[in-house]
C-alpha cells in the first residue's frame, strides 16, 4: 500500500535530531548572530526596549491565537493564525535578544533547569514585568474588535519596524527587516476588513463603531513617548514613538476616510499614577491572560518540551 509513500515513516525512530527539519528546531534562536551591544548603548536599556517590542508581539499573538477555530470563515481562521505566528516569531527573537543583551532580565529558575531564556521570559515573569502596551492585552471581543485592534496595532508597528531596519543593533535591524513584510500584510488585512465592515451592512457598521469606540482610547499609548525609547533613538538603536505619530495618523486617517467614518473623539486611557503598559502597569486582563499562558510551563520548571 505504501508504494508511493513508503518513506513516510522512515526515520521516525532514533535519536538523531537533524531529521526534525521544522525550521524551528534550534535551542538558541540567535545562534550565529552578532549579539554584541552597540557602542555607547546601555545593555539594560537595550534589553528593556527589546522586551517592550517583544512583549507587544507576544501578547498580541496570544490574543490572536485565541481566534483559532472560531473565525467567521476558514480563510479568516487561517489568516488570523498566520498573523499570530508571525508575531510569535518576532517575539521569540526579541525576547532572546533581550536575554542576550542583559542576562539579568531573565527570571531565575531552579539550578539545572533546561528552560531557555526566551521561555523563562515568556512564562516565568509576572504581569508587572511585562512591558507591552495595554492595547495588546485587553480581552477579545467580536470580529470587528480584532479588526480594529489589528489595524491600530499593525499601523503603529509597521511604522516602527520600517524605521528600525536601520538600527545600529544588528539583531533589531534584522528582526525589523523580516517583520516589515509580515506586518505590512497584517495592516493590509485589517484595513480591508475595516472598510468592508464599515461599508457592509448596518449591523457590521454598528459593530465596527462599537469596537472603535472601545479601543480608540488605547491607540495613543502606541505612539506615546517613553524616556527609554527616546534615549535609544538618540543612540541610533531604537525609534522614538513620537516620530511615528504623524505617519500613523496619516494611515489611520486614510482608512477612516475610505470607510466613511470620522476620527473618534476619545481621550487616551489614563494610567495609574502616570504609569501605563510600558511601565509594567496593566489592565486586569493581563494577569488573567498570563495565568492561562503560563500555567503548564510554571508547573514544570525543570520540564523539557
Amino acid at each position: 500500500m505504501n508504494d508511493d509513500h513508503g518513506s513516510i515513516f522512515d526515520g521516525l525512530l532514533g535519536g538523531d535530531s537533524s531529521q526534525w527539519a521544522f525550521g524551528t528546531d534550534f535551542e538558541d534562536p540567535l545562534a550565529g548572530v552578532d549579539t554584541t551591544t552597540p557602542d555607547g548603548v546601555d545593555p539594560a536599556e537595550l534589553a528593556a526596549y527589546c522586551l517592550m517590542l517583544g512583549d507587544d508581539a507576544l501578547i498580541m499573538s496570544q490574543r490572536l491565537s485565541e481566534w483559532c477555530s472560531r473565525a467567521p470563515d476558514l480563510e479568516e481562521d487561517i489568516a488570523l493564525a498566520n498573523m499570530a505566528l508571525d508575531l510569535l516569531g518576532q517575539a521569540r527573537l526579541l525576547l532572546a535578544r533581550a536575554a542576550a543583551a542583559d542576562p539579568r532580565v531573565v527570571p531565575g529558575l531552579p539550578e539545572g533547569s533546561p528552560v531557555p531564556p526566551e521561555d523563562a521570559l515568556a512564562f516565568f515573569r509576572d504581569d508587572r514585568d511585562f512591558r507591552n502596551v495595554r492595547l495588546a492585552e485587553v480581552a477579545n471581543g467580536d470580529f470587528a474588535h480584532v479588526v480594529v485592534r489589528l489595524l491600530m496595532f499593525s499601523t503603529a508597528r509597521l511604522a516602527l519596524l520600517e524605521r528600525l531596519c536601520v538600527s545600529r543593533d544588528h539583531v533589531l535591524a534584522a528582526v525589523a527587516a523580516k517583520g516589515v513584510k509580515e506586518v505590512a500584510y497584517h495592516r493590509d488585512w485589517a484595513g480591508r476588513w475595516f472598510v468592508t465592515l464599515a461599508r457592509g451592512t448596518e449591523e457590521s457598521r454598528r459593530r465596527l463603531l462599537a469596537a472603535l469606540d472601545a479601543l480608540w482610547l488605547l491607540q495613543a499609548e502606541l505612539v506615546a513617548p517613553h524616556p527609554l525609547e527616546h534615549s535609544l533613538a538618540l543612540a541610533g538603536v531604537g525609534v522614538d514613538p513620537a516620530s511615528l505619530r504623524d505617519p500613523v495618523d496619516a494611515v489611520l486617517g486614510q482608512v477612516l476616510t475610505a470607510a466613511g467614518l470620522d476620527r473618534p473623539e476619545r481621550a487616551p486611557l489614563a494610567g495609574v499614577g502616570g504609569r501605563t503598559g510600558r511601565d509594567g502597569l496593566h489592565t486586569e486582563a493581563l494577569s488573567l491572560l498570563l495565568a492561562e499562558m503560563q500555567v503548564v510551563a510554571r508547573a514544570h520548571p525543570m520540564g523539557r518540551w
Partner: protein, 317 residues
Amino acid sequence: MTTIPAEPDLEARLQAGFDATIARRDRIEPRDWMPDAYRKTLVRQIAQHAHSEIIGMQPEGNWIGRAPSLRRKAILLAKVQDEAGHGLYLYSACETLGVSRAELTGLLLSGRQKYSSIFNYPTLSYADVGTIGWLVDGAAICNQVPLCRTSYGPYGRAMIRICKEESFHQRQGYELLMTMMRGTDEQRAMVQESVDRFWWPSLMMFGPPDANSPNSERSMAWGIKRNSNDELRQKFVDMTVPQADALGVTLPDPGLRWNEERGHYDFGEPDWRELAAVIRGDGPCNAQRLAHRRAAHDDGAWVREAATAFAEREGAR
C-alpha cells in the same frame, strides 16, 4: 451541462466506460460520467473527512493558549492551522462533485453528516498534543496513504498533499513525546497516561471490524477504498509497537504480542460498544465539539453577510 441526445443504451455505455476506468485503476475526473451512488458515496466520505479536519482543530486548539514553550506554541498553532487548510482542500474536492461548502457545513452543524469519532475525546494534558500527533495522525495516515490512489482524481490529489503534511505532524508529535520522556518523572507519567487514554480510540479510527462494515465492500469495488479496516488496523499496530518501545511507553493491551507464524502482532479487541456510543453522539465531547462549531458559525454570520453586501455594492459600482 451539455444535452446528450436520448440513446437507449447510453446509460449502459457510460457505465461500461466508468467500469473500464475503474478496472484500469485510472482516475475518474469531475466531468466524467459516474453512477449516482458513486458520487453520493464520495461526497459522504470526503465531506466527513473535511469535517474531521475542522472539528479536529478543537482538541489540540484547546492547548494553544497553554503551550509550555514558545517553540511548541508555534508548532501547535501551525499544525492546527494546517488542519483548517486540509479542510479547505477537501471541501474544494467535494465541490467538484456539485455540493457547496455552505451546504456541507449545514450538514455538519445539523448532525446529518459525521466526523471522525476520535475528536469526541477530550485533551487533558499537554502530552495529548504529542499523542494525537503520534497515534491519531499516525492512524489517519494509515487510512489516508491508500487514498492517494483512490479512484476519484481531485480527492486523490488532495490526499497526496494532506498525507505529506500529516506525516510531518506525526513526527512532530512523536518528537514532543520523545522530548518529554527525556524530561522529569512527572512528564514521563504524563506521556504514559496520555498514551493509555488514546491507544484504544486510535485503533477504533479504522472503523468497525470488516465483518460489520456495511459500506466497505462497495467502496472497495469502486476503488474509493483500497484496503479493508482490519488490514489497516493491523498495519498500524505493527508500525506502532516498535515506536512505543523506542519511546519507552507501554501500550495498554495485555494481549499485545508478536505472532511469529502470522508475521504480525496479535492485539486485543477494542470496546466496540464505546465506539458505537461515541458515533451515536454520546461520546465525552460530541455536544461540546458541535456547539463550538455552531457558535463560531453563528457568531460569524454577520461578518459573512457584510462581506457579501460589500462585494455586491463594489461590484455594482
